[in-house]
């Protein structure tokens, strides 16, 4: 379980996160939703230690990993990397690299958790070739490839930052299909998106961010069962004044 507690973050003068708390449970797909600029990406980056936070705690399977609460030691990075795979909104690889080179890079640096077979499967699933340079991939293809880089890592948790944003319909469908596959099965997934309809049948839990805090957390199926409301209905209630 990833436990986020009272997370605080200021950017210059803007107080983006004012005490965000929620958990990411193993085996569940949790969607972090919020309006633009609500700090969704910041939370994912903070979990990965890519941005320092000003307060709060981030525990991954019980171990504290928030940068400001941990010592100046190197093992933390390894612990985090073996627990959580982060799929940022772009491939985060040099554009001059070829697809195959990027895969070899991952295999090389994550010998313990890189699943080559899974990577091949996903490459075939998305119909990606190894010879192409990353810089020449279309946005949709790049997003799919990005997914391959992250999901072929056998980590208990996966974070995805806006996997659908700015790409074409068919690529979106292909990416959405990933959520139905075994590639995510059993893993704790945290996804941010502002295109909630794309995933509304796919997610288990929803965390709604508003004004720097968590406005509502709910189980989407329970919500439908109990109140006969869709996720979008709830979001309307939360975000409409």
């Amino acid at each position: 379980m990833i436990e986020i507690e009272n997370l605080q973050k200021r950017y210059f003068r803007k107080h983006v996160l004012r005490g965000v708390s929620f958990t990411v449970e193993p085996g569940l797909i949790t969607c972090l939703a919020g309006l633009n600029g609500a700090g969704k990406s910041t939370i994912l980056k903070a979990i990965m230690g890519l941005v320092p936070v000003d307060g709060g705690s981030i525990r991954i399977d019980g171990r504290e990993t928030a940068l400001h609460l941990t010592g100046n030691r190197g093992q933390l990075n390894r612990y985090r990397a073996l627990k959580v795979a982060f799929i940022p909104d772009r491939p985060a690889m040099p554009p001059s690299m070829k697809v195959g080179e990027a895969l070899r890079f991952m295999a090389d640096f994550y010998p313990a958790i890189w699943n080559e077979e899974k990577a091949r499967d996903m490459l075939a699933f998305f119909e990606l070739g190894e010879g192409e340079r990353l810089g020449s991939l279309s946005r949709g293809t790049a997003a799919k490839f990005n997914l391959v880089l992250g999901l072929a890592l056998e980590t208990p948790y996966v974070l995805m930052d806006e996997p659908f944003s700015g790409i074409d319909l068919f690529s979106r469908e292909a990416i959405a299909d990933v959520f139905s596959t075994g590639w995510l099965e059993g893993r704790g997934v945290l996804i941010t998106t502002h295109e909630i309809r794309e995933v509304e049948h796919l997610i288990d839990r929803v965390v709604l961010l508003k004004d720097g805090v968590v406005a509502k957390t709910f189980d989407s199926e329970e919500m439908r069962l109990a109140e006969n409301k869709s996720i979008v209905d709830i979001m309307r209630e939360v975000y409409r004044p």
């Binding site: 085996g27 569940l28 797909i29 959405a176 299909d177 959520f179 139905s180 596959t181 075994g182 995510l184 099965e185 309809r197 509304e200 049948h201 796919l202 997610i203 288990d204 199926e221 329970e222 439908r224 069962l225 006969n228 409301k229 869709s230 996720i231 979008v232 209905d233």
Partner: protein, 135 residues
Amino acid sequence: MQPDEGFTFEFNSREPVYLQVVRHFKVWIATGRLKAGQTIPSRRELAVLAKINPNTAQRAYREMEEQRLIVTEGNSPSRITGDERVLRSVRSELLEEAVDRFLELIRPIDVSTDELVALVRQKHAARNGGNSGHD
């Protein structure tokens, strides 16, 4: 049960997805597209087929198991139950459910039962053409 056989899923967003999956199965049972004892896809295959998350597929199967629509023995694939009573009840349950909903919809319209029955008979005959009466 393959996608090209016409097993497609459509979901609305206000009902729990797993219940909608169950309903799809019930419809296919009631219409005979799924027969007693027929093996059905694994949870994983269902998730891919229905484009839902495997947790939801799992929940739908659990629901169907509880309703005894499907049976799973050991490690072998799940199959549609052979229990005729259950299968028959599916049909009546679906019908009753549909009629309930229908009645709910027309409640605001003030209409007598006879008028309603006459209208249903007429529409039903028109849809089914000359086959009416031979069931």
